[in-house]
């Protein structure tokens, strides 16, 4: 073999180490044979080798082609990034490099955003479905309809989010393909390696070997979409048929629920020196009455349970879930329009009163007592209408507002708004809410 040919082939085989072995062997064979035939034809080998170009350049193009083929078959982010890297290397002129770099950055950004959105939606689908299925299994078997409703909701939410995720995935694949068309134009410039992209790249394949299976993929995509939509619709139907949406609609539109059971109980004032009321999202109303006993009235909706007792001088009312509503913590952020009313006899003054609710509103009126009020999202209403009930008022809200007789009051602090009314009275009403508002009416 001629010395120059040997050097060229050695260099080429070294360069070819970075591409798949079978491709490398093919290429090496071709060029070895080519040079042998050229020699046999009596050509000036120096000139032939020069006209072939440098081995680096030859391999760069083969690499770009190979990576594009790979990305066409499997349009993932990694394969696509490899293509962009390879076409950047193919660029030689500085101006072309800038244009190709712009193209690479933009198309990478588009593709990456679609892939990221797809991944995020997929995670949300899994998390949402898993959370709702967990909720469904936490509902007691006695409430079968709610269990089914929650499972339906899981199916609906999960498949809807999955559909969105798959849609993003399809868009990502599509943008990879469109970018590959552009990439193909860059790599296969006639001066370097002239040839058009296969015509079927866009039209979805005419069944040639080696063209990527666009048509088959599209059919599969529409099947996935169809199945997901069907599942989602089935889930929604199951959810709707159980009647749970009506209940949730009632709660989230602050409508009085149906099927309320009214519970009442009375306690002797002399046996009580502390009152604590804790609700999930029923309103708490504390007021004076003409009676001689402490009277508790509770409007109980069918998704809540309660515990009412007087023990060791403490009268306590606790409202809790009976397990019937899924996502109970979320639901209790919104008030239920049911009330627990505590009426105190005119002269009765307990040592301490604590009222707390997650989402329910708390109303106190005409009471000169030490009262601690706390809510998360529920609002607090304090009325001191009688001339006699002089009280100090301390109010604080994280993200709500404080109003005094309808006009904003208080001063901003680090944690939100703060208001303090000091009348030198002995009793203080202390109202704290994270996200609700405090309305004070006083005359």
């Amino acid at each position: 073999m001629d010395e120059r040919v040997r050097i060229f082939i050695d260099k080429l085989s070294k360069e070819l180490e970075s591409i798949p072995a079978d491709e490398a062997a093919e290429a090496l064979n071709y060029y070895t044979e080519y040079l042998a035939d050229a020699e046999e034809a009596g050509k000036d080998l120096e000139q032939v080798i020069n006209s072939l170009g440098s081995p680096e350049k030859i391999v760069l193009h083969l690499k770009a082609e190979a990576s594009m083929k790979k990305a066409q078959k499997n349009p993932g982010l990694r394969n696509f990034t490899a293509v962009l890297g390879n076409i950047l290397k193919v660029a030689t002129a500085p101006f072309a490099f800038i244009i190709i770099a712009c193209f690479a950055i933009i198309s990478f950004a588009v593709v990456a955003v679609f892939f990221a959105a797809s991944a995020a939606l997929l995670v949300s689908a899994v998390v949402a479905a898993a959370a709702l299925i967990y909720e469904a299994f936490m509902i007691p078997v006695a409430y079968l309809s709610e269990r089914i409703a929650t499972s339906g909701l899981a199916l609906f939410t999960g498949s809807l989010l999955f559909t969105a995720a798959y849609g993003m995935y399809v868009l990502a694949g599509l943008s990879v393909r469109l970018s590959l068309l552009m990439a193909g134009r860059i790599v296969r410039r006639p001066s370097a390696a002239a040839a058009p992209l296969p015509e079927d790249t866009l039209s979805g394949g005419h069944g040639h070997n080696g063209s990527f299976p666009g048509k088959r993929r599209r059919i599969r995509a529409s099947r996935v979409f169809g199945a997901a939509a069907l599942l989602s619709a089935a889930g929604l139907l199951i959810f709707a048929l159980t009647g749970m949406p009506v209940k949730l609609f009632t709660i989230f539109n602050s409508m009085k629920p149906q099927d309320i059971a009214v519970r009442t109980a009375s306690f002797k004032p002399e046996e009580v020196n502390k009152i604590t009321v804790l609700t999930a999202h029923s309103h708490i109303v504390l007021k004076r009455s003409n009676g001689s006993e402490i009277k508790v009235t509770y409007e109980q909706p069918d998704w809540l349970d309660y515990d009412l007792k007087a023990k060791d001088g403490v009268l306590s009312f606790v409202e809790k879930s009976n397990g019937r509503l899924p996502l109970f913590r979320l639901v209790t952020m919104h008030e239920s329009v049911t009330e627990v009313t505590v009426s105190l006899p005119g002269s009765f003054s307990p040592g301490a009163i604590e009222l707390e609710s997650t989402g329910g509103f708390i109303y106190t009126g005409g009471l000169a007592e030490n009262i601690n009020i706390k809510t998360y999202t529920g609002s607090i209403f304090i009325a001191s209408k009688k001339a006699g009930d002089q009280i100090n008022i301390k109010a604080a809200t994280g993200s709500g507002v404080i109003t005094l007789n309808g006009t904003p009051a208080g001063s901003p602090s680090q944690e939100g708004m703060r208001y303090s009314l000091d009348t030198n009275a002995k009793k203080t009403v202390n109202a704290t809410t994270s996200r609700g508002s405090v309305s004070i009416t006083a005359d």
């Binding site: 071709y30 060029y31 044979e33 082609e65 390696a193 040839a195």
Partner: protein
């Protein structure tokens, strides 16, 4: 010649040359460079791709003590070539009108 135009033509030239006669890499390159101006290393990726698309296939034959790889057009390749030729014919009609118009004006 315009770069875009040349791209499509290289495929056609390869298919056309192989339709006349099977050829090995070096010979094919010689014939193509006679038809269309292109760099000599440009042909290999084209051949690989046309082969992958099933438009041509290869076989080996012995030649003076070594194996030589020959390229041969397939039925599918001939069909594709005829499609190209049909397209070119249409293009030619348009070109004739344009060029003819220029001569008259």
């Amino acid at each position: 010649m315009d770069a875009q135009m040349k791209k499509g033509l290289l495929d056609v030239c390869v298919l056309y040359t192989l339709k006349k006669e099977d050829a090995y890499g070096y010979k094919l390159t010689q014939e193509i460079t006679g038809l269309i101006e292109t760099s000599e290393s440009a042909l290999y990726p084209v051949l690989r791709r046309l082969e992958a698309q099933g438009l041509l296939d290869t076989y080996s034959a012995e030649h003076s003590g070594r194996l030589r790889r020959y390229y041969r057009i397939t039925a599918e390749g001939i069909a594709r070539l005829n499609e190209y030729i049909e397209e070119m014919r249409e293009l030619k009609k348009v070109l004739d009108t344009i060029i003819g118009g220029e001569h008259n004006g």
